[in-house]
Every structure is written in structure tokens, then in C-alpha cells.
Amino acid sequence: MKRKIALVLIGMMALTTLAGCKSESKEATKEAASPTNTIFTGELEENVTIQVLENDTAISKGYFDELIKAFNKEYEKYGITAVDANMDQYLDLANDGPYGYGPDVLYQANDVIMQYAEGKHIYPLPVEQLDCYSQIPEAAWKAYQVDVEGNTYTCGVPVNVQAPMLYYRTDLLPEDWKSNWDDNKNDVPDMVENWNDMYAYSKEIHEVNPDKYGYMKSLYDVYFSSGFLFSYGGYIFGDNNTDTNDIGFAAGDANKGAWVLSQLASNMNEDCIDDTITTNAYSKLADGTYFATLSTPDTYTTFYDSLVEEYENDGLTEDEARDKAIENLVMTSLPKLPESGDLTEENPSLIDTKTMGGVNGYAISSYTKCPNACLAFVDFATNYEMIKLRNEKLGIAPAREDVAEELGGLSKQMYENLEKGNVVLMPSIKEVGQIWTPGQTFFTDLAKDSFRPESEKKFKDLDALKAGLEDMCNQISDAIHTLE
């Protein structure tokens, strides 16, 4: 009897196991066929609350509040409410998400989102269903694409393009700039049109008053400094930023870019060695210590607020200070570079300056319980009106062509730069995390070189710079491949 019972139980166990296998394999096939269709069915989950993580500037400037109010009004009939996730903007979705403590929708840079995508912490999205789909350039979508077993999935929706911009103050231009610093008579000062004149003007400012500086930027910052290398043929990874065996910071004439940085550093102080200038640029540009610096478009309001405060301290009323700050603070695209890399060359042949950039956008957490409501939020937040409002409130460069076209000016220019490839997007693979430390080491050394006695200089010529860049590439390669 016991043997019979045992046989029955074994039979049941075997059947259950097989049934389990069959069901799982069916599910797996279905998932692989179309993962987004099974999740994003189009049926909105009703009476749900979506936790949205936005960046701090969008919250502090009031844009996020307007966005969620407008969304909540539109989706009131479904009982869908969007709220501030009330979390640090640098969240850790990989650790907090699985336990249910992450946001449902997150706004981050493409490299961050794609690292989450590799860990399957965010959903691939049916982006072709979104209102913004046809308006966003292919290059921006590519920043969010990942290939898995021959299928391409898009894991984020681009909102704005981030790339270095030149900030300067018109009231710090020389009084005679129209006659002496505008050779082509186009009413744009030469020092913001090409780096040779910026170098000359920085030198002049610093020689007249050693406490004042022209162009100032932390060389240490790989995000900003690597653009100079890209302009002369450097790149991050080969094969469209996917081949980590081909690291290209030393490729082409990238050493000329390093030389440009080294020449610019010679007119700065030792603050360019670390990130001091990145932190103090807001107050130093406002108090007139610096004439120009590099930063991203989303920091415009911070520069503006600092300048307004400075003018108010000088005795202007708030309105006067605001008007004067709008008039004097200029954010523009980067000056052109000399083809030779020599900033002292007169009448140089000029080339476009390339920059490292990113695309910030929305993604949906894999741990959300209401993916369709989240998708509705992303669709709403990336519609024409909201992106336009985002530009008005935050000064971002929109990824949508229609908004960029209407706004014109810098937004359009940034959009064109992205399409032309002058904005080199950060690779969307996790190995990009290994470029920063070796990069900082090289750029720090390069910055220090300007302050070393002539006999102790490490980078005396272009060959030495090339060797330095190759070392940096080797270090990145070691960091990526050593423990593979």
C-alpha cells in the first residue's frame, strides 16, 4: 500500500514539474516575441498613484508642479494621480526597485537609464505609440536602444539634449570689442566665435589684473574636456560606441585637442586641476572674476540667479537686476577650434568643436504596478506643450524637432549639432562607467603640467600628449577587461 501511495505521489510530482516547465516555456516564448505588448496593453490601470522622479531643477523652478497638475487634471476621470517620488535625484533603482521603494517613472540621463536597462530594471517601451515619436531624431532614440538577441528595444523617451555650452557676460567684453574683436563684423565678439581669440582675450584679462580670468573651466571634468579630443578625431568606443576593445581617446589627432586644453589652462589658476571651477563658476561669473565658462543648458537658471543676486547687492532693484542679467548673461554654442591646434596662430583655419553630450529622458521602472498609466504620463510629459513649457521654465534644449524649430536659436542649433554628430552621445553601455577615473587622471595631469617648471613638464610636445592619451586608453581597457 505504502509503495502504491509513493508511486502516486512521485507521478504527481513529475506531472506538476512537467506542467510547470511547459507553462514557463510558453510564457517565455510569448515574452520573447513581444515583451512590450504584454506589459503595455493600452488598458489604463485606474485609481492608481504614479511616483515620478524628476530632476531637482525641474522641481525647484516649479515646472514639475505644473506638469503633474496638468496631468492629474487630464487623467482625473481614470483616477490616475502623479506625485513627486520625493527621492534623491541620484537614486539607486537596482537596489531599491526590487523591494518596491523606487519610483514608477524616472527622469535621468541616457547612460544611467541604459545601465538600468542592462540590469532589466526598466521596461522596453512601445515608443512608436507616443505622440513625440516622429518628432525626435534617430540619434536621440539610439541613445536609448539596446539589442537583445537580434531585437532592438527602446528603453527611454528623449526629452532634452545635454551638451556643453559657453556662458559669458557681455558687460565684461572690452568696450572696443566691435572695432578690435569683431574681425568679420558680424556683431558677435570673436572670442566667443573661436578659441584663438578666447585664448588671446583670456591672456589679456589676466595680464591686466591677475585676480581676473577670461575662460575658466575645470580640465579635470572628462565630460567637458573630452569634446576637445573628439574635435580632432578622438572617440570613446569604436563601432558606434559599442566596441569596448576599440578605445579611441587617442585616435586621429586627438593629441591636438589635449594641446588646446593645455594652452587654455596656461591662462587659468590651479583651480582648473580639480572640480573647483565647476562648483564656483556660478558665483565667479556673477562677481566678474571669470569672463566665460562651460556648462550645460540646464544650469542657465543657476547662473542667472547668481547674477541677479550680484546686481541686487550692487543696489539695483529686483526687476532692474533681472533685466540686466537677461541682457548680459549669454549662453551660446562653443567657439570653433584651430585645425592646427595652435591657439596662438593668426588667421587659423577653423573646425567645429565637438562635445560629449547626453540625452535626458523618461523611463519606466520594471517594478511599477501600473505600466500603462506610467506610459500615459510619459506620453503626456513629452507632448508639444509640456516640452515647450519645460524650455521656458528651465532653458533646456528640447529633443523634439517641432519645439526646437519653433524656439529657434540655440535649441535649433543644439538639435542640428546632434543630428550632424557634433554632439557625441555618451555610450549607452555599462562600460562607459570605466572611462571617468582614467580620464580624470590624465586631464588632471595635463592641467598640472601648466603649473610645473619648464624642466619638469610631462607633456612638452604633441608626441608626449599622444603617449599620455594612449596610457589613458590602456587604463580604461584594463579597467573594463581585466576581470572579465
Binding site: D56, I59, N86, D88, D96, Y99, Y101, T279, Y282, S283
Partner: protein, 279 residues
Amino acid sequence: MMKKLSVGKIIDATWTYALLLIVAFIFFFPCLWIVLASFSKSGSIYSFDGFFPKSYSVATFKKLFTDTTMYNYPRWFLNTLFVAVGSCLLGTFLTILTAYTMSRFEFRARKTMMKTTMILGMFPSFMGMTAVYILMTQFGLINQLWGLILIYAAGAPMGYLTQKGFFDTIPKAIDEAAKIDGANSAQIFWKINLPLSKPIIVYTALTSFTWPWSDFILPKLLLKEKDLYTVAVGLMSLDETEFARFAAGSVFIAVPIVILYFALVKNMVDGIAEGAVKG
């Protein structure tokens, strides 16, 4: 001879005072700097004239308590106070009970427990952070201030050795006399030993309060929502352009500790004095 001695004494005193002044200045200067920086009018560390601000104002303190859109300092302050007071009350109670038990009662495995706790206490607390995080997620205590209180209070008795040392100094003869008079163990503890233990209770309360008040690692690990941050975590989350707010927040956070210290130090001194007479 007398003259020589007094010259030597003067030199010795001068040298000692000079050294003390230098050491005091080394410790006092950073405090002075942060206090002055918190009153900086410009709010930026980069606009200082050398070490100190060019001009002063109380605007940053005003901003600290009124501009709460991004950084809700008053809320962080109350959260910290709640966690610190809760941990202080519960932690002190548990520590004193543990120490008293270990000091006064003989039971099986007492020595083993003492050795085990001593060895466990040698490991840094952050070693178990991953385990703590996973446990707290299972108990649903992430984003709960009570979760923090429970961890701090539960960990506090691990440091019972100091308190046990104090209870060991109270003569057991007092307990025995009380027992002869008919008092039970609870009465001996509450009515006899506890009133004699004021200094160690104050010491325990102060340390149980200050640890959660200034701790960063545990709240950072367990609190995900900005409105639940403690001051230490909140200050760390400030933007790099918010230096003056950071300085003001750092200065203000010291206020309760200072008040608590001045309010309780008398009890500590009195208690120690009483203990000295009694012994």
C-alpha cells in the same frame, strides 16, 4: 634656590598654557569658521575674503527654515529629534537593564554571554548593513523612522560594559540589607540602585541621544523619501551651490546637543560626587 624654582614654575606654567591655548585654538577654529560661514551674506564659499566671509547676515538661517520646497530642514530636524529621543529612551532603558542584570545576577552562560557580546562589539556596525537592509525590507520598515529607533535601541545594550562597571561599584551589601528588609529584586533595582545610578543613566542617555543624532550611514540606507531624511542625510543631499545653507544647518544641529549637555551635566557631576561620598 627658591627663586630658581619659581622661575622654573613660571616657565612650566607658560609653556603649559601656551600649549593648551594652541590645542584649544586648533579645535576651536573649525567651529568658529563654520559659525561665521553660516552667517555669510553671499552664501558662497568662493566669495570669502581669505578664510572668512566679507559680509554677514542672518538671511541663510531665515532661508533654512522658510525655503522648504527643495530642502525641508525643519522637517529633517523634527525627524532627527524623533529618532534621537526615541532611541535615547528605549536604548537607555535596555542598556541599564542589561548592565544591571549582568552586574547583579548570577545565571548560567552569564560569562559566555559577556564574552560573546564583547567580541561582537569589536566588529564595526556597518559590517551588517546589507543584512540589516534586507531584514528591514522584509519587516516593511524601510522609510519608517520607527525602524531606525528599533535598530539603534536594539544595538545600544551591546555597549553595556561601562554601565555594568558602574553597577559593580555599588556595594552589594546595600542590596542584601534591602533584601533582609523584605524588598524584592524589582524594588531593589527601582528604589535603591536606580536613584544611585543617576550619573551613568545620564551618560547612557547622552550617548544614546548623540549617536542617532549625528549618524549618517543607517538613515541613508533606510530612508528613501526626502521628507523622512534626518539632518545628516539631508545636509549631504544639498546641492553644491548651497554651502551657506549647509553651514547654517550644521550649526543649528548642534543646538539641542549643547542644551542637553548643559541640562544634564549637573546630574552627572552630582551623581559622581554622591558616588564618591558613598563609596
